[in-house]
Structures are given as structure tokens and as C-alpha cells.
Symmetry: D3
Subunit: 340 residues, 6 copies
């Protein structure tokens, strides 16, 4: 009965503290994270009635995940449980010229091994208005490709809006496999989200005049990317987050949106980073929030970029900010003066 | 028998660690802080004989405060004790576009509920040379307005220099109430301290060409503010700290001073911030130190700005720096090379 | 039987956490560090077969050092043990205008009190290709001057390359004493390393157009320093690391190399700093690695500067980076994008 | 629409770590706790559909409480919000002969200042089967006496079972005031819970042959206490938890139950203590769970005593144990062998 | 070329701190552990030249394991590396009536998926005197049954002593599978180690008069167990550790040994527990040490029981005690007086 | 002008956390401690006006010590400063059969190297009533023997009571040297304190029927020890603390007192231990407090034993308890029930 439904894996995230390398760590911070769960939590924090759908192990770790999600008010009633393991990932937070580093240990998770039957989409999507997933979910197993297809088809039957964040992960599948699967799935997708390199990796659509490694991105180039994606797949909307990395702890952050007719670009923030993981998810969540609330395109985009700008200052994958905080920043109060 | 006496509230400060939001914290760092106590500790660290006057609860938390103050050598012999609670505040340290956030829980503290009779100013101010308070103290209760008035009158009787830091706090009183009370109290004040927005909030005196939210301040504008304050209230000296906030963790910091005849402005520092709370107090303390030691105006100002620049790099409200460190910085050694 | 042998003191390093001042700390992080040990660990991490030679106390602290070194695969079989104390140092990490601060407590350590007989150089240097020490070792005691001389003479007998990092420490000896001792010892040295101020302190050779305190260094000036050092002492190679300090936590970092014929200068990095102690040692280790692998001069220099640039982002004195990471940075991937 | 409803205050609990005294602490662990919230969480962990009713401040601390409760699945939909403060308490955990110490700072909390109108009992208790509160709630203010009376009267109207835990707190009210108020309120109460000293403090009913300070309690004496309570107030059931304190970190723990006809006493556990705060609440929750599930009296009692025995090993006020764990202990597996 | 070779899996161990439950933890302590690695480290700490053989993932986690083992001086030169994951386990440390809890996540580890070809036993066992493994290794995969068989056969060829610790793990295989596989493998085993319940689980040989759950073990019963094991499988020696659990944090600990002719039982210690995981491994290591040093049977047994008694007081799976400390305890100095 | 003066060394204490061994620690807790400083802090906490006399290094570590002492209200005005090092010690806290372990690194401290001229006893002891030192001070250097002699002679001149705690430390001097020096110094001592083994080590006076290693002490035996000490040296009072060690974390603790005429023995406590270092000092402080307040002998002894019993539950060397807490325990409230 939730307004928005997101579908994907949630993992335990084990991160070294105080900029230590993984190999130096004798303690890990424990949080829980996953692209679609991150979107769900962002939306829940904005007051949206949202359900997160996944499969969890029937043990204390699965219960820990459940508690974490429930504390944000995310609807967990469609989560199923089974014997198996919780996927996890190790995070080393970079600094200056040293990049952050992620080691995934998610193979054979109870979610990756789930069956399409585990998810009763007819019931889950009852009364929903929006269905969201990312390219990570189908990358996990063929069964999950089918589960995604089931959810998308059912959404189309019910007239539910669908969105997908490309979220290409080279560790999970090849560019070829991604292209083949995603080309099929996006047929059912209304709104596409991507970051500055996804479109090239998945669909071979590259932005001109841009050098991602050197952190120089061209708006013109990304307008073309949006246009080509729209032309090729018929999306109603395409939004791309643009990260220019100066050093690991200081980035420039902005976004673009094409809504079929027009192209919009946001203001750009120079962000000092506490934790950048999950920023893309908070960008997608910001846009979904804007769309659900019928904000104008530019306003939606600025909301999403401001929300995800703030995400960079929050520890953990989840974006823990309020609508007020986002709007204040979008309006221009970005100098970080104390709120007493 | 102390040279300087400061009067105000000291609170327990509970702050989230490692840039976590308050809502994420499962541990708080515990320190103790308050505008006038911060000034007292700064002065004690500079070797000044200083007493801090307040009222504390008669329990372990009051004893904890006493110990903390004593360790800096602050004279605590005029502090009185009673049944009641210690005020406290919660601090979330901002980063980048996310501002720091303070939640006060100081209402009904044993100090706010203190009686004018609790403080025997004749005895406290015996042999003192300087009395200091801030706009926070009278904002806490009408009784404290009276206690401030008593202290100020007694100071004038004894020929003691008096200083006040406007320190406007919107959570404690309205601009109207502040204006009314402070207009009366500053009649007894020789030296006025303020930050870049206090004069406007309390006395409606605004700097031209300045935009505090965008972090752009005009020296000309603040010269006018000094002049008008001096003209209106007859202060011997007016000093204003000027903060230009770029992001929450990087600010520009400087100060101005008018001594009746001339206007002085300091060099400006770009500070990377560990903890900015208490910076204004360390600015005031630096000036009081300079004045007590008969430094020249420009020298006093540079000392105060350098001292408070360093405060931004110290965790906790208290400024823990030595005269040598401040002077080295004021002389230009600000590149932070290792001292072996 | 190791390829490289380094000789010096290793200390316990006690550092305050989270940018606290030493005087605020109620906990210290415990690591182990020393210039020559840092070089040994850097080389071991690059896969070089390296032995570290020292004398340790026969107690749990000596055993702790042994374990630490062994975990990197450093050959510890020539370390001798005796009654006595482990040297130690206290570290306060600076920020912004507040410099880092080191308090040494290394006098009378078991190593400083060691005898020349404690080290059987004939055996230690058997089959070695490279011997490295720094100016700290002879500064510790006259016995250690003799031990260094013994090692250097034996190296020359065996045709082993020798290197020395000047590493001048004012707390250990005067500039006069340093000049007298080092002038003699460098007669046996093939490769000299120094930082931007060592040559002046030890040999009175100063770079023109440079102001170390203001963080402005001239390449021309340092070319002259290299030339004069080479002319005076006949070094095969001279390399100097160049630090321009903006604030304590942001520096510019580069290096120069003269190989008898030509002068090379590296690209310059603006580094945001986690921990800069040991950066010079990682620069020396990078060059030794390049020389041992017959890299070209420019390539060796860029490798060394990239390696030591990364060191600034690693907590502790030891540089914990891989050859791959260094090469990637030297090639230009320095924007710190996430490695998934 | 919850089965069980509990009503009371929930506070922030600030506790010193690692057996430090409050006065030594530079960090506090932050949890949230309150007698009736503790009961709600215990029941939720046992799978009971339970709502907790309170009033919270409209700020980040109130939101933090909301999140904490939601993570256990407690229904928070009847919680109201308003301007004001969150009550809090400081906890020092005792050891050996040193007792634990609690400093309350709960006066003038937004809950204590709540109005009877804040709680719409007709709606809250719709479909409920059980209403629970403790003597702490009416001790907080006269308004809360009225709110309790309203809830109890409405419960009786609707045929809902009611329970009360005496929970006498000398810091909140005198024995006289407690006796007067509680004598009236318990008229509406079906099930009474108490600890070994409550009945004497509140109703002057003392157990013979028992010395609470020396930790020697007589079953006979407590049978009489139950009988007298039942005779005087007509309770359907009376249950008393019995703590014999050997040292602060080792206690003996058991309980008794009278159900109108018969008197039952449980097995006694010698518990080594991690955190004993909240044990009484977990005892009450265990009995409510037993009663709701129609366990036999002895079985209910053993379940409650085993559950609360385990509570002593859990950090924080909340009892975080499963039905299985409790049943295993109640059956006799109390030697703490590893579960692999 | 090591004297002793042990073969098995080493995992990352993630443990909740300060007696928190796993579900409460927001940080984990990270150590590395595994039955045969624990034995290797124990022996290395006693000065034995020991190699640990396993397969590790080719990533930072594998490198972390390598470093950890190297710091104890364990020979890691026969460890092979490959693509895959490191097994891990989560540990919740019990207290009082609450048992410790282990969640394994070791399926599909790079070691479990290793091939018999990964281990060149001819080379590994060259010059070895003792080969040790536990029942966990063959439980991980059929390939590992074969690897164990290969190692054992090669040991017998070379006249190397072999030992096995039954270490039954119900989560890894059924009692039936264990019996079948272990019955075959122990044919090659000279020395058998077990705990108080292994013999029953694996071979159905139960001690009379003993109740493991209630913590009451009969020496007579375990003498029979030793005798039957020896008769059935022809072991040269059988040793069993005996744990009587009073509560999770206080146990009684002792051991028995049968050497073909005679039966020996040790003194019994009442141990207060910091961390009991790995105690059985330290018992086996103690006996191997005694046997290798030709201690008399009673002396070997007392050494092993004292060593493993001390293990209970050491955090982490590894036993970090010296020969001197063990001997002092075995001689009777067990009251824990300060060593200054 | 203080009532009591104590004289000795104060060191930095670096202790491993959470029962880790020193060799495992990557963090140390930092406190400050020393026998005579511990006595001073105990007395200050009981409201006695007390000065601690020592020599400290002129650096941040010396300043840290100053602050720590000042926070308890100890008079630090006679402390002198000089170039040199602060002594320190490393502490590993034992558990169960594993003893605590201390590694001293105090040689050549600025205090050990102090001159008799550093201390102006005429001024320091002006108006004092009691002078206290321990056997550690003269053990540090011959200069300090002279300083002690000077202080004692001056005390006798002025009619000041003197006390000495034997505090024999085998690491500092031999039993022969101790006997020779202490035999001379105790000629000036009125009150002697010792623990259960000091008298034997220093003066060869042994208690019959007692086995310290097994933790069995005979009251009769210690009565004889007191008598012989009194007869031999003419002390006015002799008090001995008696520790029976069961395991490292559970001891029995009591004390005896002979006042020239009568022999008193205290009740015995079984203490569960947080930190036992400094317990003897708190025992001496308790007796000095009793004597200064003219308590009866039995009352003084019970006060001292209760105070030092509580010390075992306090982290750090300093005893942080109030007179009320001690008296409550001495009266029999030792079951550690919560104080709300």
C-alpha cells in the first residue's frame, strides 16, 4: 500500500575509521546500505510512504537490517526471509590523491539467490504510484533479471511510473551483458537516472569534451547524452548527476535533467566530503520526490542536487536530511553558518 | 582578589563525534562551555588571574564543572551551589554546505533561576580591574538582568573597566527584549564586543555593502557600525569579529577595532575548522589580554584575531593556546609547519 | 642476506586523536616509527627484500616493535636486544594555522646507548646491494657515529651503494656538531636525500629565492643546492623533497633530483593531509626503489614524489601503498575517484 | 489498533563508559529509556503488537526517540509532539561495593508538561486488550495523574486489562503523595507489579524477615505482601521481582506471583551484570506476555524471571532477547555455553 | 622447512564490543582466526618454527591475513592466493546466563573452493616433524577432504607425526557425514584432540556420569572415552579438554590425556573469561609443544591446560602468552598478583 | 600553607584498554599517577588542604600533570619545573589467572635528576601538620634520599607529623639498599604504612602462617609484624593493608593498625576489581584523614579500608570517592544497590 516501491539488495557495510586503510583497521564501522534501500530511506526521510522490497537472511543480521529500515519508517512488510547470507562490502574512505576503495563480498547472498516467486508483485504494487530499481539488481543473477522484469511488467499493467538508475558495476557484470539486459529492461522504464559514466559503459553513449578522470565535464556533451538516450529508448525523463573530482575529499557536484522537451542544468557545488557513497541514490530520490510533488523541472533538479550535495556530508550511505534543509541550500544558503 | 571577573552560565556540551548528525549519534563527547567561562579560560591560559562567577548544581555534574575550571587555574571561589539542574546543549558539527546545529536545553538551570543575592559583588569585585559579561547572561532571566546591573554598578563604583559581548541569541529572547535590556546595561559598559551580525540584531545598526549569508563583509560598513555604536552609547572601545563563511569547515576570519579615535582592521585568515564554537569568546579574551597589557591597538587586535583563528583548530569551546603560539601566528608564521 | 639494509632507531609514537592537543588527550594512538624503519617498511611494501637493523629493549615493547616490523615482511634477524628503554615520541597533529608538534623522549634509549660491537656489519651486509641511514642515527650518540662509520666503510669495501637522508633534528644536536660529523660520514655516501631546509642547516647551503616559512620555494634555487652539494661531496645523486606549506593540513609537495649530469624536477601535488610524518622517508624509499629497478631518473623521481604524496593520506609514519597505486598516481590519476 | 498500549515518559540516557564515574567521563553512551517504553520494546521483541504513548519534543532529539522506537516495531502513531525538552538521566554503572548512581534531569520535560487533552484515549485504546503504566507517570505532574486516570477509566469502559508497576521514585514524589495518588489509581488496576521495596514505600506493606540492604529476602514475607495487596486493593494478580544484591555486579534474581488463589515462586538466578537498569520492566513485560498467551501461572513467572535475568546482560534499558532465548533459559540452559 | 605444519582456514572475525549483542553493534572489532591458524600462532609464540598452510583471496583482506600471521613469525610461504572471498564469522560475547553466539559466513570461501593441487605437500612437509589439522578443514568441502588425505598420506610416508582436533561443527556437516569422513582420516592420525562433546558427536562415544549442559563432567567417564577412542582407532595419544560452564563468563577448565598406557588428569582452574574462543586450539598447541619438547605426560598436560586457561583472558582467538607465563601458572602462581 | 604535604614522583600512565595485553594495544588510556600524588588527590577529594611537591618537565606533558592535579584542588604551588623528561609507566590489566603487568620507564626523569636545592622545605612546610612520602622517592636517586632527609628533618624541627609508606619496588633498588636507606629515614617517621609484603622485603620482618602467593594471610602474623616494627623503629602507629588475591580480578581486602598500645583489624571485603593500582595509597590517605580528624583507631582503620576497597572499582590510580560514600560502605552498605 506504499506510494513508492524500491527493489534491490541491502548489504552490511564495513568501513575503516578515521581514513585508515582497510589493511590498517582493527575496527570497522557497521552500517547497512544498498542503492535501492538508500533511495527508499531518502524518500522516507522526506515523508514519502515508501516500501523497500528485498530478501534477507533469517538470522540476527537480517533482523538488524529490518530494524535499521524500520527506524526511518520504511515499509518492510514485503521483505521475505530465507536461509543464506547477507551480502556485505568493505569500504576504505579515500583522501586527497588516494581514492576510496570498495571490496564487495556479495556473491551468493540470499537476495542474489532469491527466486522470482519470492516477490508477489501484484500485492506489492497494489496502490503504488512509482516503482524504482537500479542496474545493480539485475546484475546480481538471472533470477533477479526475471524479478525485475516481473515488477516492471506489473507496473506497466497498473499504470505505475517506473524509474531506473543505471548504476553500472564492472565487478558484477561485463559491459556487454549489461547492455543486453538493460536494453531490454529499460523498455519498461519511464525515468532514467545515471551518473557521468554509466551511459557510456552500458549503452556506449559518450559525452563529448569530457574527461572524467581529470574531472572536467561538458554540459553540452551531457545534453547530447540525454538526447540520445531519450531518442533511443523513449524515456519520459533522463537525469544525470555530474561529479568532477578534484581530490578524493573535494569534488564539484551538479546535475542535468531532460524532460522530453527541455534540458535543465543545476547550479554546481564544491563539496568537502565526509562520505560520498550513496550520493547518486540521494540524487535519484530527490528527483522522484520532486516529480511526485509536481515540482517544476528546474526546481526538482535543484532540489535533487542540493539533497545529494548534503549527502556528501553525512556518514553512511543513507541521506539523513530534511526537506527544509535541502530547500534552504537550494535557495542559496550554502555557506554552512551555525544554526542555533 | 582576581584581576578579571567574568559572569555567566557554564553548560555541559554534548557533541556528536566525527561529523555525525545528532540523530545518528550513539555516543557524545562531553565538554563544558559557556561564553563567559570560555573568556575566563582563555585569559587563565594566558596567565591572567581570573575568576569565573556562576551558580552550579550541588551534584556530580556541578563538581565536574568545578574540576574542569580549576584545571586551567580559573578562580572558582565565588561560584555558589544550589539544588537544580545544569544547563546543557547539544552540538552537531557541520561540514561543507551542511551547517553546524545547536540545540539548547538550558531553561530552568540553577543559574537561570539564581537570585541576585547569590552574588556578593562587593566581595567578588574587590581588587578586580576588569569585569566581563555577555548578552547571554541577562537573556536568561530577569533576575540575571538585575545581577548584571548590580555587578556593573558596583564596577563603576570601584572604577573597574567593564566589557560586554553582545552575543545575541534568538532562542533566548526577542530582538525587542534584547534591545530594551541591553540598551540599559551597556550604559555601564566601557568596551563592547560583537560579531558581524549582533549590532544589527540588538541595536538595528547594520553594515552597508555586506551580505552575511553569502559571506561577504565590507570593512567600510563595519567602520560605520563601530562609529554609530560609539556615538550612540559612548563606548571607549568597540571591537567586532568578522566571519565570512565559505563552507561550514572553511571560513575567512578577521576583526576590527575602534578605540574612540581610530579604526583598525586586522589581517584576514582563511581557517580550516576543527571546532568554531567559542571563537568569538577567544577574540574578546585576546583583546582584554591586549588591553590589560597595554598593547597598542593594532597589536591587541592582531593578537585577538590570531588567538581566535587558532581557536578554530581546537576541539571544545575553550581556547587552549599559549601566548607564544598566538604571537608567532600574529607575526606571520601561519603555514602550520611541524614544530619538532 | 637482504638486498637493502637500513640502520636506525625505531620509537613508540604516541599521538593524540582527532586533532586534539596533547594536553587535551585522554587516549593516545600507539604506532611505531623511525626514519630508517619507515624506509624499510616502504621498500618491503614494494616487494623489496629489506632488513632493518637496530637495538631493542628486551621487554614487551621491544617484542611489539618486532611484531610490527615482521608483519610487513621486513627482515628483523639482525636486530639485537638488551636491557634498556624504547625511545618514544609524542605527536600532536596540527590543523590550519596550528602546526603539528612533536615532543621527543628518546634520550638514553637502548639504541642510543648501543655499542658498535652490537652490530656485525660483515654479516649484516653480506650480499646486500644498498645501505641506507639518516642523519638522525649519528645524532643520537658518539657510539652511533662509530656504528654508522663502520657500516659505511664495510659497504664501500663490499661495493654496496650507500645513501643518507640528512634529516637534521635541532633537538638532537647543534648545526655545528651535525656539520662536523656529517661532513665526514657523507664521504662514504653515494646518494644524498634531503628536505627543503636540511642542506642549509647541516652544510650552510641555502636555496636562493626561497622562503620556507611562507611556503615559497624556487626550483632554480634548489638546482643550485644540488649542484653545490654534488661539487662539494661528490655524490652520485642528490634528491630533495620540496614542501610548500599553505596550512598545516594542505601543502604543496614535489621533488628534485640531480644525477651528476642532469637536473630533474617533478610534478607538484596539492595534498590534503591525514598524516605527514614520514613523508620524507617515503620519498627516499621511492627513489631507492626506482634506482634498484633501473628506472629512468625522471621516472624514479615521479615515482618517489607520487609515493610520498600518497603517504600524506596514510595514518602513521609507515607508507602503506602498493606499486600499482603509486604508478597510477604518477601517471595522472590523482582525482581520487572511487575504486570499486 | 495495537493489542497492548503503554503510557509514560521516555528519556535520553547518558551513561559513562567502562565503569568510569560520571565525573571522570569525557564521553557518554547515548540510549533512550523509560519504564513504560522498556515494557513496550520488550513486548515488541516478543512479537506483540504494542503501542507506546507519550509526548516528545519537536526537534532532532524527539525524532531520534521516534526512530529508536520504530526500529523495534513499536507503534508510535499515538505519540504527540510539542515545543519543549526531552527529559534525560545520567547513569554511572557501579561495580563491586560501589553502587550505580542515577542523576535525573527530567523536570519540565515536554511530557511532564503535557495536557490531558494531548491523548485521545478513545482512539488510542480502540481494539486494545491491555493497558500498562507505572507509578512514574503520575509522579511527574498532576496533569499526568489525570491522563492516567482518563486512560484507566476508558480501559475499564472498554473491558481492557490494566496493569501498573509501582516503580516508586523518591526523587519524584514523597511516600505520602505516592500513597494518596496510587491508592486511587490502582482501583482501576487488574495486575500489580512491584519490586522488593515498592509495596513498603508506597503502601506501607513490608515483608517480614527481609533485609533489602543486606540482600536477604524471605519468600514467606513476600507471600504476605502479595496477600495484603490483593486483599486491600482487589488485584487479580500481584507479581513482585526480588533482587538480592551481593555486590553491584553480582545479584540474585527471582520473582513471585499471586493470582488470587495461589502463590508461585520462581527459580533464583545468580546474575553477573552488564546493565541492570530496566530489569523490573522486562519482568513486567515477561508476565504480560505470559498472561496474553494464556501460559500457566508458574510458566508465566518463570518466563518473566528468565527474560529479566537475561536483561541484566544486555547494555541499555531495553531487553533485547528472543522468546526462544528466554524459553531455553527457563528450561534450565543457563550455563552460557557458546551457540555456534 | 618448518618443524610444524598446520592446515586450515583462517577467517575474519567480526565481534561486537563491550558485551553488546550483534544486533546492537555499530562497530565491530576485527581480528583474524581459525582453529589451525590459532594453533600455529600459539606454537610460534612458544618459539616453535611453524608454517600455516591455507588459500587466501588476492585482495587487501588476504594481505591483511598475511600480515597478521607474519607478525607472530608464522611461516606463510606455502600460502597460495586466488580470486575469491575470505570466510568470516560474527561473534557475540555472552555474559552470565546469556551464551556467546557465533554466526558463520564462510561458505564459498577461496579456501573452501581450493583444489587439492593448490597444495604441494611434498614440498610443504619437507623436513617437517609434525602435521596438524582439525575436523573443520574436511568439513568445508570434498576437495578439502582430499587435501587433508593427501597431507596425511604424505606425512605417513615421511614419518611425520600427525595430530587432529575433532572440532565438530554442526553448522558445517551432519554427525553422519562427519563420522564417515573422520573415521577414514583418523586412520592416519597419531594424536587426537577433542573437547568434552566432540567424541560423542563424531564417533558416538559418550562419557558416563556427565552432563555437559549443566556443566558437570566425570573424569571416570572421560577416561573411558579416551580408552575407547584409542582402542577403536589406535591413536598414540588422546587428549580431551574439559569445560564445565557455570555461567558464560565463569567456567571451570581442565584436561585429560591418555598416552596408550596411562591416563592423566590435570588440575582444574576456575576461569573468569575475557574471550574463550580458541581455548581448545591453545590446549592442542600446548600439548604439541610439550610433546615436541619431550616433556613428561603430566607436565605436557599441565602446560597445555595452563596455557589454555590463560587463553580465556586474552582477547581474540590467538593465545598471546609466553612459555614463562604458562610455566608460572602451571607451577601454581594463579592468583593474578601484579608483576611489576 | 597546606595542612598536608606529600612528596614524590608523578608519572604518565599508559594503559591498554579492555583487558588487552600491552603487545596487542593500538591505543593507550592516558592518566597520571604516582604513589604520593595518589595520596594527595585522595586527601583533596576528602576536603583536606594538601600540597603535592615534585619536579616536572617544562613542556606540554608537565603542563598536563599540573592541570590534572589542579582539578582536584591539590596545591601545586611548590612544584618546580626544569628541562627533562616525565617518567612514565605502561600498565597491562590482568584478569583471572593472568596477572597485571607494569613496565616502568621512569629512569632519568626530571624528578629523579632533581637537586635537593629544588625544594625549599622551610617554605613548603610552613604551617603544615603532616608530611608524607613513600619508599619510592628515595629509591629514585641519592639526591632524592637527601631531599627526603631534608624534608623529614625540617618536619621534626617544626613538630610536623610524618608518615611513610614502605612501597618497596624491586625494579628500583635491591632489598639491601632499601634496608640501609629506609632504616635511616624511618628514624624521622611517626606513622608507617606497608602492604603485606613490604616489611619482609625491606626489613626482613615476615608474618607467620601467611602465604602471599596463595593469598592466605594470618592476622596473628601481621600483629607480630606490627609489634616488631614498632619495637625496632619506635613508630607511633603502624598500619598494614592485607590483600589476598583469589584471581587477578577478585581479591579479598582488609587492613590492620597498631597504635602503640592496641592492635586493630578491619572487616574484610571481597572486591571485584576495575583497577587495583593505587589501592595502597588510598589506604594510607584514608588513615591520614582519620588521624587528622581524630577518629578513633578502629574507625580510622575501617574508613581507610572502605575507601581503598572502593578504589578497586575506580579506573586510574586516583581514588575518586567522597567521604559520604566511604562512610556508607564502612557502615555496611556494600551490596552496591542503585542510588537514584
Amino acid at each position: 500500500m506504499s506510494q513508492v516501491v524500491t527493489f534491490g539488495e541491502i548489504m552490511m557495510r564495513l568501513s575503516a575509521q578515521s581514513h585508515l586503510r582497510l589493511i590498517q583497521a582493527s575496527q570497522f564501522d557497521v552500517t547497512y546500505a544498498g542503492a535501492e534501500a538508500n533511495v527508499a530511506v531518502s524518500l522516507a526521510n522526506f515523508g514519502i510512504d515508501v516500501a523497500f522490497v528485498t530478501k534477507l537472511p533469517k538470522n540476527d543480521l537480517g533482523l538488524a537490517v529490518l530494524r535499521i529500515l524500520r527506524q526511518y519508517g520504511v515499509d518492510t512488510s514485503y521483505i521475505c526471509f530465507g536461509e543464506g547470507r547477507l551480502g556485505l562490502y568493505f569500504l576504505e574512505t579515500g583522501f586527497s590523491q588516494r581514492p576510496s576503495k570498495v571490496i564487495y563480498d556479495r556473491a551468493n547472498s540470499v537476495f542474489a539467490l532469491s527466486n522470482p516467486d519470492d516477490f508477489d508483485w501484484d500485492k506489492i504494487l497494489e496502490n503504488a504510484k512509482w516503482f524504482h530499481f537500479t542496474g545493480i539488481t539485475p546484475a546480481l543473477s538471472d533470477n533477479l533479471v526475471e524479478s525485475c522484469r516481473n515488477a516492471l511488467k506489473k507496473s506497466k499493467e497498473k499504470g505505475i511510473m517506473t524509474s531506473c538508475d543505471l548504476n553500472y558495476r564492472a565487478k558484477l557484470w561485463s559491459e556487454e551483458k549489461a547492455r543486453q539486459v538493460m536494453s531490454e529492461l529499460v523498455e519498461y522504464v519511464d525515468v532514467l537516472f545515471a551518473n557521468e559514466e554509466d551511459a557510456e559503459k552500458v549503452f556506449g553513449i559518450k559525452a563529448d569534451d569530457s574527461n572524467i578522470i581529470e574531472g572536467k565535464l561538458s554540459l553540452k556533451g551531457y545534453e547530447q547524452v540525454c538526447t540520445r538516450l531519450q531518442e533511443k529508448f523513449g524515456f519520459k525523463k533522463v537525469a544525470i548527476s555530474l561529479r568532477e573530482s578534484i581530490v578524493a575529499n573535494v569534488n564539484r557536484w551538479s546535475g542535468v535533467l531532460m524532460d522530453g522537451k527541455d534540458f535543465y542544468s543545476s547550479k554546481q557545488y564544491t563539496v568537502h566530503i565526509v562520505d560520498r557513497v550513496g550520493a547518486g541514490d540521494s540524487f535519484a530520490a530527490g528527483l522522484i520526490f520532486g516529480f511526485l510533488n509536481n515540482m517544476k523541472p528546474q526546481e526538482s533538479l535543484e532540489f535533487a542536487v542540493a539533497a545529494s550535495c548534503l549527502k556528501h556530508t553525512i556518514a553512511g550511505d543513507f541521506n539523513q536530511v530534511s526537506i527544509d534543509e535541502v530547500k534552504k541550500l537550494a535557495k542559496g544558503e550554502g555557506s554552512g553558518r551555525v544554526v542555533r
